[in-house]
Amino acid sequence: MKCATPYRDFVAALWAGLLSIMLMPSASWADAPADCFDPLAAPVYPHTPDTEVLTPQNDAVRFLNMATFGATPNDIGHLRKMTLLQWVNEQFRMNASCHLDVLNQTQNNNDRANRMEVWFRHAVTAPDQLRQRVAFALSEIFVVSDVGSGIPANALAVYYDILVRNAFGNFRDILEQVTLSPAMGRYLSMLGNQKPNRAQGIRADENFAREVMQLFTIGLVQLNAAGVPLREGGETIPTYSQADIEGLARVFTGWSWGDSLSFFDGDDWRISMKAFPAYHDRKEKAILNKKRVPEGGTAEKDLAIVLKVLFNHPNVGPFIGRRLIQRLVTSNPSPQYIARVARRFDDNGQGVRGDMKSVIRAVLLDAEALGGTSVNPKFGKLREPLLVLTHLWRAFDGNAADGTLPYYYPDYTIGQAPLSAPSVFNFFRPDYAPSGAIKDNKMVAPEFQWVNDANNTRFYNELFGLTQWYYKGNPYVDRNNILIDINNLKSHAKSPDDLVNYLDFLLTGKKLPVDAKQALRNYLRGIAMGTGRDKGVRRSLEALYLIMSSPYYLIQR
């Protein structure tokens, strides 16, 4: 494949500069980072060179369902004019839409409902879809949650923007900024973690030390380049011991609020934690793989050593690669696919490790991602509930009259809300397998951890309401609600055949089996077209619900 990206280094430098500005204590809630973009503005696509290799229509739908918050007619049309690589590179060049900036424009930036609205507004309308989609995936790996943690809404937006800004940056920067963010500091109690004091019977807090290895970088056992656990005498090999955790816990001592003169108070969530030398353990510490952090180092210096060791561990590529593939593409990637992504993590082709652009290209443009079940029969994943709603509103232009997306309580209606996982283990564990055929075939299906009777009922009912009631033109709902535009559907409604084909194309990329389409057509024919304002409405709405609620849509292949 052709097409180079000459400005990669320039962009990386730009990010680095912006990030250091963002982390300076002088920032206030109202300051918008220079690179943040108004998600309400219409998408402006950069000029794309003419090309002879266009993306076929159905491939475009499939691809956009992996790389964005859901395919839309406009985006499909745009992608068809170019290659997938050109589209990805175009996305890399787009400005970042940051959440805090928009949250600050609401009446209360510390209201959880506003945080939800701002998240949906970005997911549904922001032009930098790939960045937003990757940031969401990262938020399900580097988990911080408002469940049980007391972390305020604006602090979570600050945290989310770290992921948004660095989605196309370097993994090393993500790791460092996440580590030093007060939201993560609070969530995994590194904020205020102090050196051991034998007299008082106090040890260093092990929480962050454990999870940064188990969940954010290397995992529990040594992996080969394809993510397969290495074995010695039949047994897997642990990546670290309890003693390593204890050493690492002492490395992560001495960090507290960036705005404070005292180790024990402060409350500025906008800036990184800072080191308080008096509370940092300067003794020698044993960490991973018998490596040592020498005596006498500052908190900053010790942290740099540890992040370097973790970042350079051979597990990170396959470990993070598999997680990104699972979030964006498929639940059961082949080891070869993981290995190809890991190779791009290890080296972007220019000797740079951890280049997220290189990793994202490898994840999305891999032959397995593009070929689907024709390459790997196990290909596919259950759509996350949030991604079903964002797709609905993207494909059918859902919004309130003022252009916002006021959807405030997704946790109650669909059982999932951004930055609201029940624990650091996210909504779904990467190794979750429901019992039955999936488990018997040694497959996993992480999103099925959400599937149960209670969630099924509320999700199917919520989708029913959103598709049958909340549409533009319904005289009984007011425009403060998110309403979908069904004019496109109504224009197809006269022919149930057309209607089903259009929805099948737009939602699944033509994955509905013939007999399912036949059954749908027969059913829709039995619904009267209606007249006047109601003409075609019922057929459109019912077809929409029946397809979006069917396993053929909810399982993304």
Partner: protein, 456 residues
Amino acid sequence: MTTSKYWTRRDFLQCSLAAATGLSSRSAALGFLAGAQAAAVEAAPKDYRALVCIFLAGGNDGFNVLIPTDEARYAVYKAARSNLALPKEQLLDLSASSPDLSYAVSDRAEGLQALYNNGRLAFVANAGTLLQPTTKKDYEAGSNLPPQLFSHNDQSDQMMSSQLDALQRLGWGGRIADLMSSLNGAKALPLGISVAGNNLFQVGSATVPYYLSASGVDRFSVTSGGAQDPRTRIFKKLLGQAYNDGRLLEQALAQSVQGSIGLSETLVKALENSSVGSGIWPGSYLAQQLQMVARMISVRGTFGMSRQVFYVVQGGYDTHDDQLERHGNLISELSEAIDAFHAAMEELGVGNDVTSFTLSDFGRTLTSNGDGTDHSWGNVQIVAGGSVAGGNVYGAFPNQTLDGPDDAGYGRLIPTVSIEQYGATLAAWFGAGEDELQTIFPHLNRFDAADLGFML
């Protein structure tokens, strides 16, 4: 094992699917088997027993719930726990079973104290994941230890399953359901019911639990027109096609949704006649879940239930910081909820038939990390109900001396009782035979007592 074929939810689903849409011969065959099974359960015992698992998510600090108060052991406790030690004058005394070994509970646990002193609650001291009896020497040598000690998800998995192969894991609540579902009648619900979402504890090889929310069961909007409504039929037809086309992900989703629809109709109706007793319930989420359990138990007759296993969760126990405040509040909630639940069980006439018990990821370090604790191993578990031989501490209370014989480091106590012994004691009361216990708990025979004696 006493029978070879069980009436499972899967059979139930396929049977009802076959009846509703006249589908494949495979379903019809299963329906036939199910009919034969229904005839066989006529002889099932008429008694009722329920186990209620209260999972304390995050790792409960059990050694700040049950505290030794005799002078010698309290001094050791106080030294080990430093700034987390609860002052003796704040503790609530438990009636002593032996003069030189006395215990108390934390001042936030009035309900637990009352149940204990009434003989309806017991503690099991220092239970944890073990593959075999393990000494400090074994720990230091790393010989035959449970994998991934101190890790949240791995240790909670092992508490719930005691099987080590990740992809084949079944929960011990689910394996009880596999083996004992045949005791329930032909119209039975799944034996396992979760009010707190998906969990490994209830995963069986042949049975799938039913999941409801703390607020109950809703009907499906799309099928609200009834079975003959064309929309109901097209919706179910698409599910049925997806179920039968052999693609595993589509099939698994369709199967789950089909089950949800079938059971929601029946349950909504049944729950209209449910009761939570006349007592006052606290408002916590845990209490709401237990209220839902009480409602389900109150309508057990509608479904001919003879055995049920419930699952509820109380989260927030990962108290790495601000522990004294946070843990105190959690224990207060737990204590009130358990107290209200068992009072309701008495009122519903099943006081002796329902046993609640706790599980948790792991215990917590006795030592402090400043204002909190980290992940540990052995822990104190709580069992309550009219059939509990209460007012006693079971297992071997550990020596809490730091760097002592039971300490794996920083007050991480090496369990003196296996979680499999704990589970087996409950499963035996539930009616599992000796062979079944060995199937459910694969390492049980490595320990000298299969029954810890805390059930009457």
